[in-house]
C-alpha cells in the first residue's frame, strides 16, 4: 500500500510517494529513495507527498532521515506537495519548520519528464 516514483533531471531528484507511510512501508520507501540518491549526483531532492493517505512517526522518520542525508551531502530538500493528512502530521512535529514545504494539496502537476525513471 505504498507507491514510490522517482525522476532525475538536471541535478534534481523528484520523488512522489503515495499510499500509507508507516512502520511496514518505511524501510522500503527509504531504500528506494536512497538507491536513487546513490545513482546520481543529486543537488536537490523534491518530495511530493500529495498522495500520502496515512503517515505516522515512522513515516516522518523516513522523510527526516532523507533530509539529514541531503544536508550531510551539502544538498537541499523540499516538499513540493503534501496531502492535508500529511501536512497536519508534519506540522504537529514541527517538521515543516525545518524542511521547506513549498506546495500544498492540489491536483498533481504533470510530470514533464525526460529524466531517467526509477521503478515505481
Amino acid at each position: 500500500m505504498v507507491r514510490v516514483e522517482a525522476r532525475f533531471l538536471g541535478g534534481t531528484l523528484s520523488v512522489a510517494i503515495g499510499g500509507e507511510l508507516d512502520l511496514y512501508t518505511a524501510a522500503e520507501v527509504a531504500d528506494r529513495i536512497d538507491r536513487a540518491l546513490d545513482d546520481h549526483v543529486v543537488r536537490q531532492l523534491d518530495l511530493d507527498l500529495g498522495a500520502v493517505s496515512f503517515i505516522d512517526s515512522s513515516g516522518l522518520g523516513v522523510i527526516f532521515g532523507r533530509y539529514k542525508k541531503m544536508r550531510h551531502r551539502g544538498g537541499h530538500m523540499q516538499i513540493t506537495r503534501v496531502s492535508p493528512v500529511a501536512l497536519r502530521v508534519l506540522q504537529m512535529a514541527f517538521v515543516d519548520r525545518i524542511i521547506p514545504v513549498v506546495g500544498s494539496a492540489g491536483p498533481r502537476p504533470r510530470a514533464g519528464g525526460e529524466g531517467s525513471g526509477h521503478g515505481s
Binding site: M1, E20, D22, L23, Y24, S53, F54, D56, S57, S58, L60, G61, F64, G65, V85, V89, M92, A93
Partner: protein, 162 residues
C-alpha cells in the same frame, strides 16, 4: 438497532503478532470500530494515527527476541472511547523519560510516538514495568450527539480505507 450503535456495552479485542505488516490491520480495525460513534473523518484519522504509534512501539521495542503478541482493545464508556494497547514484552524502565518528546532508545527514531498520542487523545496512561510488559490506555471523548446517531452517521462513519 442504529440507536444502540456505539452504546457503552460494545467492545472489540484484537490480538495480533507484533510485526510491521500487522500495524495497518490494527489501526483499520480500531477506526472501523470507532466509526460506530459519529466521529468525523478527521477524528478517525487521528485515532488511526495513535493506534499506529502504540502498536508500532510494541513492534519496535517490546520483543527484542522476536515478535510476541500485541492486544488491542477498544470499548465505549460513558462519554468516551477507550483504546488499550498491551504487550507482554520487556516493559519500560523509566516511563517518565520514555514519554518525553524526542526520547528514543533506538537510533534514528524521533521519539514522537508518545507526543502524537498525547496530542490527539484526551488522556494517555502508561502502565509498565521491566520484564512485565506495557499497557497504554488512551481515551478520546465521543463526538457530541452520539446517542442520536442516525442512518447518516452510519453512512459517513463507515467510509474508511485501510
Amino acid at each position: 438497532m442504529a440507536a444502540e450503535t456505539g452504546s457503552p456495552e460494545n467492545y472489540m479485542k484484537l490480538e495480533l503478532l507484533a510485526r510491521p505488516e500487522n500495524v495497518a490491520l490494527a489501526r483499520v480495525a480500531v477506526a472501523a470500530f470507532a466509526a460506530q460513534a459519529n466521529y468525523t473523518l478527521a477524528d478517525l484519522e487521528e485515532i488511526k494515527l495513535c493506534v499506529s504509534e502504540a502498536v508500532s512501539n510494541v513492534v519496535l521495542h517490546a520483543y527484542p527476541g522476536g515478535p510476541g503478541p500485541v492486544i488491542i482493545a477498544a470499548y465505549f464508556r460513558a462519554e468516551e472511547l477507550v483504546i488499550e494497547v498491551s504487550d507482554q514484552g520487556v516493559g519500560i524502565a523509566d516511563v517518565e523519560k520514555a514519554r518525553e518528546a524526542q526520547f528514543s532508545t533506538l537510533p534514528d527514531h524521533m521519539g514522537l510516538g508518545f507526543v502524537f498520542m498525547e496530542s490527539f487523545m484526551d488522556t494517555v496512561a502508561v502502565e509498565s514495568a521491566p520484564g512485565r510488559g506495557t499497557k497504554i490506555t488512551m481515551t478520546r471523548r465521543l463526538p457530541s450527539g452520539i446517542a442520536a446517531e442516525t442512518g447518516e452517521g452510519k453512512d459517513r462513519g463507515r467510509e474508511l480505507d485501510p
